[in-house]
């Protein structure tokens, strides 16, 4: 499960038409950034890839969202399995009010894995992958809430990696963090891209330029422009895109 293809996707919250005919494909092992002003539908869109909008009353989707050719909104798709394959990191760090170890082990435990060696191994590996291991290795039993915001966010990434997803969705993962923590997260994303397909929503255009291979610009629910990041930033085809990335409106 690595390639994503959205065809003609519309999304509604009740009568509110938030996504309009979006078609876009994402290749494996790349970083794709979604940018655009608030309310443009980019968060709604990213949350459709692991069906996090399912619990919102009045949410409705039209069109196709295929992951490796499989429509993920089909009835026979088990949403729990989908979310193990398509992990998500949220805007505000949201660790569970438990120990660091238990946070990372949670995904395995809910899958019914009880073998302590397997769990410990995975926890260590995930914390190493998220570049948090050296900072917490002596305090695995401390509450996750005692970590700093940046550490909490890397813990959330470790927790997501522990269930071995192939796609990572990140909804403004650094917007609540200080510049140093942000840099660490960005560095992490660049290393993770070797083994994961990453989609990131960001308000920070420099961030999108630094870390992404392709960028999609959304405006009022429509996909205005989607291109290689270097191309979109140096040579935007639409006036709206140009105005947005040059900071004329936001």
């Amino acid at each position: 499960m690595k390639n994503i293809q959205a065809n003609n996707v519309d999304a509604y919250y009740g009568d509110n038409h938030v996504l309009k005919g979006v078609t876009l494909g994402v290749k494996e092992n790349s970083v794709t950034a979604f940018i655009g002003p608030s309310g443009c539908g980019k968060s709604t869109f990213i949350r459709m890839f692991n069906r996090m909008n399912d619990y919102i009353d009045g949410f409705r989707k039209e069109g196709e969202i295929l992951i490796d050719g499989q429509e993920i909104y089909d009835e026979d798709v088990r949403v729990e399995e989908l979310r193990q394959n398509v992990g998500m990191v949220f805007q505000k760090p949201n660790p569970f009010p438990k120990s660091i170890f238990d946070n990372v082990a949670y995904g395995l435990r809910i899958q019914g894995i009880k073998d302590k060696n397997v769990i410990t191994e995975t926890v260590v590996k995930s914390l190493e992958q998220s570049a948090l291991w050296n900072e917490v290795k002596d305090n695995l039993n401390k509450s996750a809430l005692s970590l700093s915001g940046g550490q909490q966010q890397r813990l959330c990434i470790a927790r997501t990696l522990a269930v071995e997803p192939t796609i990572l969705l990140m909804d403004e993962p650094a917007s609540a963090l200080d510049p140093i923590s942000t840099a660490k997260i960005e560095e992490l994303i660049s290393t993770l891209k070797e083994s994961y397909t990453i989609i990131i929503v960001t308000h920070n255009m420099q961030q999108a330029a630094r870390i992404s291979d392709k960028t999609a610009f959304f405006y009022l629910g429509e996909l205005i422009e989607y291109d290689k990041t270097t191309e979109l930033y140096t040579n935007p085809k639409h006036e709206r895109t140009e105005n947005y990335i040059s900071g004329k409106f936001g």
Binding site: R83, Q84, M88, F90, N94, I110, L145
Partner: protein, 285 residues
Amino acid sequence: MNNLKKNRLIDKSFQYFGIACTLFGLIMLAVFISKILMDGIGRIDWSFITSLPSRKPEKAGILTAWTGTAWILGLTAIISIPLGVAAGIYLEEYGKKNRLASIIEINIANLAGVPSIIYGLLGLEIFVRTLNFGGSLLAGAFTLALLILPIIIVATREALKAVPPSLREASFGMGATKWQTIWYQTLPASSGGILTGIILALSRAVGETAPLIVIGALAYVPFVAKTPLDEFTVLPMQIFNWVSRPQHGFIVNAAAAIIILLVITFILNGIAIYLRNKWQKKVNW
């Protein structure tokens, strides 16, 4: 300038009015408690707690009453906690937020305000007669469980509502099912609020008399209840019975029993406040 003076005067006078209102309630309570203490404290000793009721006030004790209260408390808890918490979880986590849900919500709030004697009549018809429990502990416990169910449901829902959505999202995002999310995340995070609600509801049940009179709890029970199907009395019933006797000795007994009942409810409320503070400190997002 005049206006400013006037506003300040209104401000001051409301402040004093507020102090007076607060003091009114506190003074009433203080007078009541001190009167009861003066009347009854001297009567409380070991034999008062361990004696069966008697026709002679100096020999009478509250053994059957407090054991009955303990039975009722335990049985009511066993019946009402699973039902109330489960209903609260369903309404908050599973139920769709539509018209039907809001009608149910309003009705549950209404049920919490229905006079307890009405619940007594309901219990009499359903548990005492139809289900043939008679005037037993079981009938009493079921009736009181019905009475406090709305309180527990509302408290459970409020506690679940207070759990930040980000916690649920985190769990769902990891591939957890709804039930796993509730069991491992939402319930532990809200258990302080739920427990507080349960204990406050139970302390209300302990003080109820009217519904138990209706279902036929006895005022005079010369034996300690051994099974849930035994007939019973409870502290408020015993107090009610003693207060209506003419002899002064029974009035003293009633005061002593009131002290015991107050102690029980204060302890329950104290536990509730302790739990609330403990959880508030522990979890902060």
